[in-house]
């Protein structure tokens, strides 16, 4: 049994220490935003945030998460009150099939927490490990810029719903 903190909640997980975090999220906790793409850490679709940093959950064994905070896309906002990053991706229609988008959003979120006003080049460099076959790359770029703007204005009015951090 291991305690795993996900989206602010503690969970008692009964799994081997070498179980990938992705399996625990999807199968035990039924949090299905993070996707299984390649299972090799090469496509980015399983990306979640661990202690503020983007991490590939398919190659992250459970034992590395002792005492750490895991955030998945579900932890950022809900359908009724989406987080700025989610709103921005919807408003820019940045998803086509959508399989890569949860991972893209999580790495973009980690970037924006660290650097609230990234340049185009910084966003491109940051999202380089993520593959998208549909080709919505330009919309994804615009969405990250939009999210940066939304977060900036959200901070001025903290009562705005979905001002997740």
């Amino acid at each position: 049994m291991m305690n795993l903190k996900v989206n602010g909640h503690d969970h008692q997980i009964d799994a081997e220490p070498d179980t990938p975090l992705l399996y625990v999220l999807r199968e035990d906790l039924k949090l299905n935003a993070a996707k299984f793409g390649c299972g090799l850490g090469q496509c980015g679709s399983c990306t979640v945030i661990v202690d503020g940093k983007a991490v590939l959950s398919c190659v992250t064994p459970l034992l590395l998460l002792e005492g750490k905070q895991v955030t998945t896309l579900e932890g950022l906002g809900t359908i009724s009150t989406p987080a700025p990053i989610q709103r921005a991706f919807m408003e820019e229609q940045a998803a086509q099939c959508g399989y890569c988008i949860a991972g893209m959003m999580m790495r973009a979120q980690a970037l924006l927490q660290r650097n609230p006003k990234p340049t185009d080049a910084q966003i491109r460099a940051e999202l380089e490990p993520h593959l998208c076959r549909c080709g919505t790359h330009m919309r994804i770029l615009r969405a990250v810029h939009r999210a940066a703007h939304l977060m900036d204005t959200a901070e001025l009015s903290p009562a705005t719903p979905g001002s997740a951090r």
Binding site: D18, L40, V59, P61, L63, L64
Partner: protein, 453 residues
Amino acid sequence: MTKPRFLASIAAGLLIGGVAAAFAVVWRPAISAIEPPVPQSFDTALVKRGRDLAAIGNCNDCHTLRGGKAFAGGLPVPTPFGTIYSSNITPDPDTGIGRWSEAAFRRAMRSGIDRAGQHLYPTFPYDHFTNVTDEDDRALYAFLMTRPAVHAPARANELSFPLNQRFVVAGWKLLFLRRETYQPDSAQSAEWNRGAYLVEGLAHCGACHTPRNALGAERTSAPFSGGDVDNWHAYAINARSPSPVPWDTEALFSYLRQGWHPDHGVARGPMAEVVSNLSSVQASDVHAVAVYMTSVFGPPTPDRLRQARDLRMQIKSPQGRSSQTNTAGASIYAAACATCHDIDRPPPYGGVNLGLTTAISAPDPRNAANIVLSGIRPVEGERSPIMPGFASSMTDQQIAALLSYLRARFSNQPAWANIEKAVQDARRTETVYLQTSPGPHNAPADLMQRDKP
């Protein structure tokens, strides 16, 4: 003449003689500035040859800032003596070499003196470039003088006294610069000689792979015995090579050409730049380098061949050697590494078996730590290896546990000491590296220049 006065005049004579001798050692005349030659004045075939030679010389690696304009210099080169910034070698008349004649360029290559007569620091490897022929210097000059001129003033070096005085370099040269050029060995094949000329000269392999003495000169008594560059270990590439499987000519050729080999691993760090350049030159030159280096490695001993054979058998039917008490390392390996490194899929899409990779059998864990932290970026547009970095998901302690497990399981070498310290250092330097390099750069020059010089 009284005795004291006699002694005084001897002292004065010695002093004057000494000053004159020092002056002769240190002082070099300026070579007159020229009007920058127009690019059209250079023969296109010569420029093209110069382009390949510049790639073999890896010139762009030091003379181009990551993400910056080609050959405009400014790259900080950390040395044990301080930081030296590379110079602008574009034909800009004010900040580059636009006003350098070919003779001035050749003098810089051969004896490390700039056009104005100043001594250049030996981070510029003229101790190797003395071996470059006049014809090749002419081609390099033609190539560089036809690049786009970039206005980029030199950055001041960060050296302390007395090393910030360039005349000190004259003393260094007196001790360490051998000015003879490469002489072919008639007992060897033409290809071997071509390889030797390139390796010892323009390609300056020893600059990284040969250990340096306290004054920063290559130890000529231990050529190719392994050296240090940035926070990487440049492996021994002679009989002391730590590679579990001995290198042969074809493996070397394929590695230098494509950047990886299934029996050895992937070129990373500074070597990635080298193979990126070598992938763009004539195959015959790379093959010549491989032929010469095979003779530097020397024929493998029967013992090493037997070990390599055993290793291959063991990889085919893995068992043994895994009974360890390092459960954290084993679990991390199982979940984070084995999915790529312990499957049947061959490289580059599958990972190299860690029993074969030199990093795990190397004398220290630096390279392995670097690679676990930052992973391997795929080369744009190429079928090339890829590996995610684990800097965000593993602590130094966890990476140390993993590395110690890998060392025990995949090599027959003694355990590494101070792994955690090595991981800390790797994380610190890698952070700096990531901050100063907005993107990977692997184009040796403007590739368009290749067909249209």
